[in-house]
Amino acid sequence: MAKSQQQAYDEFIKGVWRENPVFVQVLGMCPMLAVTNSAINGIAMGLATFFVLVCSSFFVSLLKSFIPKQVRISCFIIIIATFVTVVDYTLLALVPKVHKELGAFIPLIVANCLILGRQEAFASKNTIPMAMLDAVGMASGFLLALVSLGGIREILGEGKLLGFSLFGPNFEPWVIMILPPGGFITLGLMLLFFNWVEERKKKLDAQLAAAEGGAD
């Protein structure tokens, strides 16, 4: 039992951190950059993707034995597109303001390589609980990335976080952060930061290993 718990935890955490879809696998760049000019947009997009990914994974995993290999991609796409349409209409009905902000990028969730990729690589080969864990992990990782990028861009770009002013009225907003170049550059720098952390960790590990080897 402990072992399977450990495994479940692993499946979940790999998407959030170790195989983070954005920072590590560099998937789903378009929505990642296009809608993250504020944290709230990032959250909305992240949740929409979360919903689509989890629902699709559930159905794909459920139906995996019925779907012949030859048409599986088409089936996946139909399933994904269905849920994207569902999200689209739901958002439009419930929170039209957010829908307007995200605009055409909601339908474009269909083209997010992350979602199709997870179906192909994981959901279609695993049991429902595992597929769900994987989907929740990946979607959380994606959400995390969207929110952090959106947060950074909002803090610098408007001096606010989730709409709350952080620096007072005299703050000079960094307009570029809300503009496309700001998206590119911020994400580039974030990836750079991740590389740097990884590099350091590797170095530390190597030093530790060397030290241990010496002790033996």
Partner: protein, 245 residues
């Protein structure tokens, strides 16, 4: 790149019959269609109301004192009231006070701005030949600069009681001296001028086609709330691209 590229079809398993393949797809399509239609129907009314409310709010904003509105279409050179949605028609909206007296038109117009198309709705009172309000439906102007065309109250206030003859002109901030001039936004001259140009273009397109003051189409009491009858479809507030970019 995307994962699906890497996948080689797994060999070994026996070929399923083509019927099976087509069947699977058909079933998938069917299920998906059912789900979609269900959601569509469930959300249809709310979405429609949202849209109508949004449009009404915009119209009320550019035409102060309006309580009712209706859509007008140009048919054979005459403005007629329309309750159905039709493609490829550019409507304008007429606003009426509580008693049903005509107040003015709300005219949508769009054109290139600094970054992308700007969609404007502006109120026009034919009797005095005045623009009485302006509202940006959609724009992608630079945050902090160009977006002042709707965020800067002072700029929006420019369009209250603005003469349309001979033409609206944007001048440098603080130098407004004539009733047909507006103060441009410092640093966003292009965006300010674009708004003015878009309104002028709207005027050019519409003013000659409007009926004589006094002979506007009367307000027809139709249930606005319960939606116009006609084909089911998303109602697009004209000019306002709902998927606003």
């Amino acid at each position: 790149m995307s994962d699906q590229e890497q996948q080689a079809p797994a060999g070994g398993a026996e070929e399923p019959s083509p019927n099976r393949l087509v069947g699977t797809l058909a079933v998938a399509g069917l299920i998906s269609g059912v789900i979609i239609i269900a959601v569509y129907l469930a959300t249809f009314n709310t979405i429609k109301e949202n849209k109508a409310r949004e449009l009404r709010e915009a119209v009320f904003r550019v035409l102060p004192g309006v309580a009712h509105m209706q859509k007008l279409l140009l048919k054979d050179g005459k403005l007629v009231v329309s309750h159905v949605e039709e493609k490829d028609e550019e409507p304008i909206y007429a606003g009426y006070d509580k008693e049903g007296n005509f107040i003015g038109y709300a005219i949508p117009s769009a054109g290139p701005g600094f970054q992308d198309t700007i969609s404007v709705l502006y109120g026009y009172r034919p009797k005095e030949r005045l623009v009485v309000g302006m509202w940006i439906l959609d724009s992608r102007e630079t945050p902090g600069l160009g977006d002042k065309i709707y965020k800067d109250a002072a700029f929006v206030a420019n369009f209250d009681r603005l003469e349309v003859d001979p033409k609206i002109v944007a001048v440098k901030k603080g130098t407004k001296s004539k009733p047909n001039e507006i103060d441009a936004i410092t640093g966003a001259t292009i965006s300010s001028k674009a708004v003015v140009r878009i309104i002028n273009e709207g005027n050019e397109r519409w003013l000659s086609k409007l009926p004589e003051p006094g002979s506007e189409p009367a307000f027809e009491k139709v249930e606005e709330k319960k939606g116009e009858k006609g084909k089911e479809g998303q109602e697009h507030p004209p000019g306002a691209n709902d998927e606003g970019l």
